[in-house]
């Protein structure tokens, strides 16, 4: 592909589009590697086998919810609440599913089943952005891009988990591993605190959870999260009106 022709879709083969998707996702792997490895390290430090840590990354394949499950298991929360809360972290995936349906909804069922399995933050962000830029792409071009993007992202997620789980035991004992998950989470969400809607949602989430800590089985977290989602959406509407006025 010529570097300064912005990939004319009528000329690019699906193979070329696949490779371009591969390249486009490489910057995201800067995040995938350390967090995948960290998950492997923490999972085995908490007593999981390498195979169990790998099962987590292969079956769930959603970093933030995997860390959430780890945190809640460490706190000894009941199983149903662990599954509910960690799944709630992934509710945004339904939004991604909505966003990609106009583009990939015509694919065969087995293809959609596979697309759904690999639907992560990166495949949504890069997919939605590129499909908007390439209005002439048909289904096969869109599929080629999608699988190009997810190959390094998801492949490296497995590899990094395996490496962390396998070599993490070499780390010295006595590290404050209990606090690495909270620090990682704060590092993930704080760059998102750009808008008032995000800040309001985060504030309600923190304040609500601490205020509702008396509720059984830390179910206050789910109540606070629902309230935070509503507040975030309402503040967003308010902000839009103010900007529009």
């Amino acid at each position: 592909m010529h570097p300064d022709t912005p990939a004319d879709p009528s000329f690019a083969s699906t193979g070329a589009i696949f490779r371009r998707g591969l390249l486009a996702s490489l910057p995201f792997t800067v995040m995938i590697l350390p967090f995948g490895a960290l998950f492997g390290v923490l999972a085995t430090a908490q007593g999981m086998s390498v195979a169990e840590a790998m099962a987590f990354s292969i079956v769930v394949i959603a970093g933030a919810s995997q860390f959430a499950a780890l945190q809640l298991m460490q706190e000894g929360a009941p199983i149903a609440l662990i599954i509910l809360t960690a799944t709630a972290v992934n509710l945004r995936m339904a939004m991604y599913s909505v966003a990609l349906t106009p583009h990939l909804g015509q694919a065969k069922l087995w293809q959609r089943a596979l697309i759904a399995y690999f639907l992560v933050d990166q495949s949504y962000v890069l997919g939605a952005a590129e499909y908007a830029r390439q209005p002439l792409w048909g289904l096969s071009e869109k599929l080629a891009w999608y699988f190009g993007v997810i190959s390094p992202v998801c492949g490296l997620w497995y590899v990094a988990t395996w490496a962390g789980a396998t070599f993490g035991r070499a780390l010295p004992a006595g590290l404050p591993l209990d606090f690495i998950v909270p620090v990682s989470f704060l590092a993930m969400v704080s760059p998102l605190l750009r808008t008032w809607a995000h800040r309001a949602a985060a504030a309600v989430s923190v304040g609500g959870t601490l205020a509702l800590w008396w509720m059984p089985y830390s179910s206050g977290l789910l109540v606070a999260a629902l309230a935070a989602m509503i507040v975030g959406a309402l503040v967003e509407i308010h902000e839009e009106k103010r900007r529009g006025a």
Partner: protein, 113 residues
């Protein structure tokens, strides 16, 4: 100390499969079953805030009363949390924020020891 849920393999696999299936259904929902139907705008807006709604609440108790110290608020952990958030907002870079937080935590715990 291995948490009970991890030591008990049935419970651990229940979490892995439960979370995996729940997440898969969310991913498959519209692509696979519901198809080309729009979500109500309010629902779309709310879904946008799920990470921000769940994650801060998830970490708040671990920061306010960490289990590692028996529930006592710990200055090193509090400071590390503040530094992580400040660097995250300032730099908008997750890795920079994380590094700053870990270094602060290590320094704080070393000073306390």
């Amino acid at each position: 100390m291995v948490p009970e849920i991890i030591a008990n393999k049935t419970q651990l696999w229940t979490v892995i499969l439960g979370l995996g299936i729940g997440t898969y259904l969310l991913r498959f929902s519209f692509l696979g079953l519901i198809g080309n139907r729009a979500l109500p705008p309010m629902a779309q807006r709310m879904l946008r805030y799920t990470p921000m709604a769940v994650i801060p609440g998830l970490v708040a108790p671990a920061i306010a009363w960490p289990t590692a110290t028996g529930g006592e608020a710990d200055p090193a952990r509090l400071l590390a949390a503040l530094v992580t958030v400040a660097v995250g907002i300032g730099s908008r870079n997750t890795l920079a924020a994380m590094l700053a937080g870990v270094v602060t935590l290590a320094a704080g715990l070393w000073l306390q020891a």
